[in-house]
Symmetry: C2
Subunit: 400 residues, 2 copies
């Protein structure tokens, strides 16, 4: 598997992209509508927020996916179409309906995503005009992919994309993706969204299964502030245009799984690096746990501890706060067996601090926290960022 430098959602064959500026996100004319079209019916699958206030587009997508006949995904930023009641549902359906009319398919073959302010109805006149403009602009040019990446941004400071090439039985295939996030759920500019394209041939059910597993270890393992939004969505479309077929089992499936996981991990880490106010990427790896669930619980508790995140922001290798978070998460621990390394430096072992200085290990832009619980063989990794004054500024000074 190889990474495609400068790759995008258009690296795989069989897709076109378009974008437009319809004035929902800002009056200043930044791109805010993106359209991804598969030239032929594609396998489509999604992974969605578990938030009980799931937004209208999420409800729409859940009702149409997985499907072997998906044609398009339409996305707007600036308005999340969440907490918008029945009218919000009609608006999501109408948006899908317009795309269907333009490309010549049924509304159920079109997925919809929205991100932005909660509780406001979409300005449909502007949105539908934007969808028409994005459709008119559909292309395979790199510029179309870059525009689409910008059109889905909210508080992100940079666009986020990734693509790889793999091989199944001698046939090359590609997977591309783009994402936005910046604060897990930024203020009301909620939501993590990710869109994946692939040119393999795969049944939608299988794609759905592989996508869910990959999301579990990538997008579901990152945390900026622990909040998960009303709109979180990962959508994948597989066109089949490369001729490579993903089999039910065996090395071909593994090659696809590995490539998809790579793209999704890369996109996830781009989100964390661009977390609101973030200055450091923090990897929390827990090993030696009795179960994978226990390892994940401990890793998540450490990664979500405000005190740990503040310490790392301040360049302080504060082992006490890390152990404290591990200690209160409810997982049974044996303190005498726990070993903690920060950036490779063992700071706690045999129930006592070692006295080793790990200050250099938290000084840089990437910090590794490795905790070995010493009671089993299960492991889990969670990624997070530090917590800075700028996070408070962004989130306290943003008004509804």
């Amino acid at each position: 598997m190889e990474v495609i430098k400068g790759g995008s959602i258009l690296s795989p064959q069989g897709f076109r992209a378009g974008f437009s500026r319809c004035g929902i996100k800002t009056a200043q004319g930044k791109p805010d509508v993106a359209l991804i079209l598969s030239d032929t019916p594609a396998a489509g699958a999604g992974v969605f927020t578990t938030n009980r206030f799931a937004a209208a587009p999420v409800q729409w997508d859940r009702s149409v996916l997985p499907s072997d006949e998906m044609r398009a995904v339409v996305v707007n930023s600036g308005n999340a179409n969440a907490c918008t009641g029945e009218k919000g549902m009609r608006n999501a359906r109408e948006t899908a309906g317009l795309v269907a009319e333009l490309v010549g398919c049924r509304a159920e073959q079109v997925a919809v995503s929205s991100t932005g302010i909660i509780g406001h109805q979409l300005p449909m006149d502007r949105l539908l005009a934007g969808v028409r403009a994005a459709h008119a602009a559909l292309s395979r040019d790199e510029a179309a992919a870059r525009g689409a990446e910008q059109a889905i941004m909210t508080t992100d400071t940079c666009p986020k994309a990734c693509a790889v090439e793999g091989e199944i039985e001698g046939r090359a295939f590609r997977i591309g993706g783009m994402t936005k996030g910046a604060g897990m759920i930024a203020p009301n500019m909620a939501t993590m969204l990710a869109f994946i394209t692939a040119d393999v041939h795969i049944p939608a059910g299988r794609l759905s299964e592989i996508l869910a597993s990959a999301a579990e270890l990538t997008f579901n393992r990152i945390t900026v502030d622990g909040d998960s939004s009303t709109n979180d969505t990962v959508l994948a479309l597989a066109s089949g245009a490369s001729g490579a077929v993903v089999p039910e089992v065996g090395p071909g499936r593994e090659a696809f799984e590995q490539a998809l996981s790579h793209v999704m991990r890369d996109l996830s880490l781009q989100i964390v690096r661009d977390g609101e106010g973030a200055t450091k990427l923090v990897e929390v790896k827990v090993e030696g746990a009795r179960t994978a669930e226990a390892a994940e619980t401990v890793a998540r508790a450490v990664a979500e501890s405000q005190l740990v995140k503040c310490a790392i922001h301040g360049g302080d290798p504060n082992w006490g706060r890390i152990l404290c978070a591990a200690g209160y998460c409810g997982v049974e621990l044996e303190p005498l067996k726990v070993e903690l390394k920060i950036g490779g430096v063992t700071v706690f072992k045999d129930g006592l601090p070692t006295g080793a200085d790990a200050a250099a290990a938290v000084a840089g832009p990437e910090v590794k926290v490795h905790l070995n619980l010493g009671v089993g063989r299960a492991a889990a990794t969670v990624w997070t960022c530090d917590l800075s004054k700028q996070y408070i500024e962004i989130n306290a000074e943003y008004h509804t």
Copy 2:
């Protein structure tokens, strides 16, 4: 039941207090050792942290409580005696032993508490000298109680005390208490500690039971940053000196429960008001839930959401973030039945924002968030504070 203005741990009869400056917390001679003595054997009970890295004094106290023969509690600030291994345990035992020798009882009749930096051994010479000085200073003067309140402080900006008077079958009784907290777990200056005195007569088992229930609805319902420390402790001593007896059931027990809950709630809210960087006290009340557990889960999710706490800090009645937190906590919700009030203003109902302006309701120092889930009759309240840049400053710039 009446609140005793300026009341303290010495409001109840049968207790003396002492304090000293032994130089563990600061070289500048702030009080850092406190001693509470019951003149006769008292009922003693405790509620402790569930953190797996429970500190040595917590382990000691768990081994001696509940007991009908407690005589004293000795506390130091500046060093938590946590993550200190076998030597830490010996030091806790030795501290209890010295108090026992001074007052003429067994070490098992003395509880020990510590708060401060984690992972350093106690400087025993200084501590034991401080314990002797605190014992020599034992008194019923108000100054002794005030000194003890200061001796347990770490990053607290003010001492915290409360006392009430109640009546059982015509006999007056009193309950007093002091606490420290300031950041749930402040940096390494970890820990919430609370010490309660009462002059009722009550078996230790009954006291333990009532204390645990009261803690569930008071100290366990406050959150500053969601972190719970290695040293969290609530200790209660009942001297019996008033002659009032707490019966197993009936109005007498209820009078005691009510008075104890009042003191504990008052102390808890003092901690939240003094939360690190806090400028507002936030009450999150959830009603209309199917179960008390569901109500508490939703209330806690809202109270622990960084985004909600930032919004309130910024004076923003951001209903979207509150609903979002309720939506992701795992409790089954029916969005159309949920009603949200901020400071009495209904901002969300029937699945839609009402458009009402609640800005005034979040402008002051006390903010009330009331969420009715509309599916049952269970309720729960959690208290928290806002999240400010000062919190980050305190916690990022504090070094081990």
